[in-house]
């Protein structure tokens, strides 16, 4: 009950606006893929096209090798967990979860059994007779998941399913979502704008921007070796220093021309790429680290963000000799 | 898919609303020869309406009554709706509103009849005033324009109280709080905040009042007597006594034109799909 998805040169135009610009993407069967990007980047449009809620202006979508052109949502091997859950308020949880099976002509007893099984999968056993309004936000989210999974889709589409939950609950649900995906083995395509969420759950992250794919890769690779300035910035904080002719603003560096990208936590007193002496401008204690703004003495107008160890006792005005342990150079 | 669902309603409206109206407009350009309708393009009916004083007077009567009724009803209903929305405790509001409009559910014909009993020569009002010694002769209220206006106002005050209340209760109390916070007095808050925010609702209610009032036959027929005619009474007279369908149609087109003018005058604020 799983299938791969091929997205081939999919373009979506709304009037003169280009929502998706010739997007190509291969998703393997059983993979957990997260589409990540700011609002308006085209990630939800792409999800809607996979689900069949929108037809692309051009290009094609194949699921399990079958072309989905002109196939209605109800006939696709996909189901969706909607952002607002879209639970049917007038039905019990069992009726909600069993709805898809009912549409497929499954008998009431079999539906109820499956519903109970799915509710158990999401940790809501024994609540089949409840109605959606009796549940908390997190519980509704689980019902929506159970309902979408009950018909055993090949591909499950999740449209910012955790967006309405508070931060703590969201982090807890991420782990659960990942565990459930492992158990059912279905291909999950998940849309979010929260990069921490993406890293927590994805096998592979697709960073999107302006209707194009900016970067694709496993979380670790995307964070440490981003392939575009946009994804470098979107995946987390980054210091960007232009390099030209083997020299950066703070001095010579042995890297090719481009933009030197350094994560704040990669800068320390022992780093191998030397930045040189820097003056600390201000510090803020963040719990797990001390966040400092520093200015290299050689380039007093440049500001670098540095994460120093929790225990570092550094005051504004102090001078530290810093270097970068890890870095990437990208084309400007 | 969408077309299939919207088609039945559209076809019904086309067949039983648009088409009949077109047929009526066509008929308004016919004329009578004896008891026979002669079709053609004859503006005679319209010329007659605007030159024959009986007809013109009926149009003027209708307009005067309708404007007075609409204004008086809004002026009386607004405070009533506001008192229910802002003074009556929240848990009693629905009951207060339900009670205020309960007579709305009496039969329309019967309601006018009941006013006849109240306002008649031997009616409750006259008997009460006589026995209190406030008057010596019974007042002539029934069979006058005053009775028609009272009957109409009674009905439309209830209708407008409903619509205005619905608008007032939707307003966030924070609007009034913000206005008060910024130094506005009660009257200023009402004048500059509450009234503008409820204006679309008020205008929509007033427009419905106008449409229903100017086209109503029953109330003036029962309460107004025969001293003066309104447009709908004149139309019914043409249908009944002389069987002059073309003239009745032309009068209806004029009535429709008046309503259309009222529509455009108020269209800026009208919210008919949100009644």
């Amino acid at each position: 009950m799983t299938a791969g998805v091929s997205i081939r040169a999919v373009t979506q135009r709304y009037g003169s606006a280009l929502a998706l610009d010739a997007v190509d993407l291969e998703i393997a069967a059983g993979e957990f893929v997260v589409l990540l990007g700011p609002s308006g980047c085209g990630k939800t449009t792409l999800l809607n096209i996979i689900g069949g809620f929108a037809e692309p202006t051009s290009g094609s979508v194949l699921i399990g090798g079958r072309d989905m052109a002109g196939v209605a949502p109800k006939d696709r091997p996909t189901t969706t967990v909607f952002q607002d859950y879209a639970l049917f308020p007038h039905m019990t949880l069992a009726e909600n979860v069993g709805f898809g099976l009912r549409m497929r002509g499954v008998s009431r007893a079999a539906r109820d059994a499956k519903a109970e099984e799915m509710l158990a999968l999401v940790g809501l056993e024994g609540r089949a007779a409840r109605r959606p309004h009796e549940l908390s936000g997190g519980q509704r989210q689980r019902v929506a998941l159970a309902r979408a999974l009950a018909v055993e889709p090949d591909v499950l589409l999740l449209d910012e399913p955790l967006g309405a939950l508070d931060l703590k609950l969201r982090r807890a649900m991420q782990d659960e979502l990942k565990a459930i995906q492992r158990r059912v083995g279905t291909t999950f395509v998940h849309v979010t704008h929260d990069q921490e969420e993406a890293m927590a759950i994805a096998d592979r992250i697709v960073v999107m921007n302006g209707g194009r794919i900016a970067d694709v890769g496993p979380p670790r690779e995307l964070y440490l070796r981003p392939k575009s300035l946009f994804s470098a910035g979107f995946m987390g904080e980054v210091n960007k220093v232009p390099v030209k002719g083997g020299a950066a603003a703070f001095g010579p560096v042995a890297v090719p021309d481009g933009v030197l990208c350094i994560r704040p936590e990669a800068i320390s007193e022992g780093g191998r790429l030397r930045i040189g002496p820097c003056r600390v401008v201000e510090t803020v204690f963040f719990g797990t680290y001390l966040r400092a703004h520093v200015a290299p003495l050689a380039a007093p107008d440049l500001r670098l963000v540095v994460h120093l160890p929790q225990g570092a006792e550094v005051a504004a005005g102090a001078v530290m000799d810093l270097g970068a342990q890890d870095f990437t150079v990208l084309e400007a | 898919m969408g077309w299939g669902l919207v088609a039945p309603a559209l076809l019904w409206t086309a067949a039983f609303f648009v088409l009949p109206f077109a047929a009526m407009v066509a008929l308004s350009f016919a004329h009578m020869e004896g008891r026979e309708v002669v079709r053609g393009f004859d503006p005679g009916n319209y010329i007659r309406i605007f030159t024959d004083w009986t007809m013109l007077k009926a149009l003027i009567n209708s307009l005067e009554i309708t404007v007075v009724v609409t204004v008086v009803s809004v002026v009386l209903a607004y405070p009533l709706a506001a008192i229910i929305a802002f003074r009556v405790p929240a848990r009693w509001q629905r009951l207060a509103l339900l009670l205020a409009v309960l007579p709305f559910w009496t039969s329309y014909v019967v309601r006018s009849y009941a006013w006849l009993l109240v306002l008649g020569q031997n009616g409750v009002v006259n008997k009460a005033l006589l026995s209190l010694g406030l008057i010596t002769e019974p007042l002539e209220i029934a069979a006058t324009r005053t009775a028609t206006v009272i009957g109409f106002v009674h009905f439309f005050v209830m209708l407008l109280t409903l619509t205005i209340y619905a608008n007032l209760i939707q307003l966030s109390p924070n609007y009034a709080r913000a206005a008060a916070d910024l130094g506005a007095g009660r009257w200023q808050t009402f004048r500059h905040v509450i009234l503008p925010l409820t204006l679309p609702g008020v205008v929509t209610g007033a427009f419905l009042t106008f449409v229903l009032c100017i086209g109503d036959y029953i109330t003036p027929q029962i309460l107004g007597g025969n001293a003066e005619l309104t447009l709908p009474q004149l139309i019914m007279l043409q249908l009944g006594r002389s069987g002059n369908f073309p003239l009745a149609s032309a009068l209806s087109v004029v009535l429709m034109a008046v309503v259309t003018l009222a529509y455009f005058a108020s269209s800026r604020w009208l919210r008919l799909d949100r009644v």
């Binding site: 109800k74 969706t80 909607f82 879209a86 639970l87 049917f88 308020p89 709805f99 898809g100 549409m103 497929r104 | 969408g2 039945p8 309603a9 559209l10 409206t13 039983f16 609303f17 648009v18 088409l19 009949p20 047929a23 008929l27 405070p79 008192i83 009556v88 339900l98 309960l102 007579p103 559910w105 009496t106 039969s107 329309y108 014909v109 019967v110 309601r111 009849y113 009993l117 109240v118 031997n122 409750v124 008997k127 009674h154 005050v157 427009f207 229903l212 086209g215 036959y217 029953i218 139309i235 019914m236 249908l239 369908f245 009745a248 149609s249 209806s252 529509y263 008919l272 799909d273 009644v275």
Partner: protein
């Protein structure tokens, strides 16, 4: 200010209830005229009215026309609202306008137009023709109420149902209609009360079988009588019962 408010409220209630109180009170008049002085209490007029065949037939006719025409108006209005709220059709603003339009036209004009049409088409006047007219006046109401009630929540639930494999008619029957149960019931009952009480269309478009308002109208022609008070009180009782049922079972539950 506060005292003035309560005084205004009291006067308003007195004005609103005055005709109803007089109507009901003098339906018990033990005398020939429903005006003061009150001559004693009797239920004779009710007995007489309930025994009158024409009146009881008219009552049944009215109920029938109201129920059937409201049902048709509700179904047509709901389907159209569903389509126009969901699917982006070319000219949907115009279509909304056309569907709402009868609301802005006097009943007299609608009646006269239909009379003209039926005369020309050679259609005999009957309860059916009056019912057609009542659908015309109630369709905009049903359309507007259900259209206004269709929010994002409905839209998303319908989308989810389609996603789970429901064909369009099942989406309508199992998701849209049940979710809109309260506004649909409200639209239906409002239509029923409007149709039940409607005079001019029923007057012009019926011939031998008539509805209750038309029958009451012909009673009025023979002058005032406590019998008319009794009929009026009975109709009021029925309407109020309906309104209270609606309030208790639909609006209370909808909250």
């Amino acid at each position: 200010m506060r005292a003035l408010s309560w005084a205004y409220l009291a006067v308003a209630y007195a004005f609103v209830f005055l005709p109803v109180v007089v109507l009901v009170a003098f339906s018990f008049q033990d005398g020939r005229l429903p005006v003061p002085p009150f001559q004693g209490f009797t239920l004779d007029w009710y007995g007489r009215v309930l025994g009158e065949r024409d009146l009881m037939e008219a009552l049944v006719n009215s109920a029938l026309v109201a129920a059937v025409s409201s049902l048709i108006a509700l179904i047509l209005g709901f389907l159209a609202a569903h389509a126009l709220a969901r699917v982006r059709l070319p000219g949907s603003v115009l279509m909304r306008g056309v569907l709402i339009a009868p609301m802005t036209v006097s009943y007299l004009i609608i009646a006269l137009g239909l009379l003209t049409l039926f005369n020309q088409a050679g259609v005999r006047l009957s309860l059916w023709t009056a019912g057609v007219g009542h659908v015309v006046i109630n369709l905009p109401l049903c359309f507007a109420i259900t259209y206004a009630a269709m929010g994002d929540q409905q839209r998303n639930a319908e989308r989810a149902a389609r996603d789970l494999g429901a064909p369009e008619w099942k989406v309508l029957a199992l998701v849209s209609a049940p979710m809109l149960a309260a506004p649909l019931a409200a639209a239906f009952f409002l239509s029923v009360t409007f149709s039940w009480d409607e005079f001019i269309i029923a007057f012009l478009l019926t011939r031998f079988d008539v509805t209750l308002p038309v029958e009451i109208w012909s009673m009025l022609r023979s002058g005032i009588s406590p019998a008319t008070n009794a009929v009026g009180s009975l109709v009021f009782l029925v309407s109020v019962t309906l309104v209270i049922l609606l309030e208790v079972f639909v609006f209370r539950r909808a909250k």
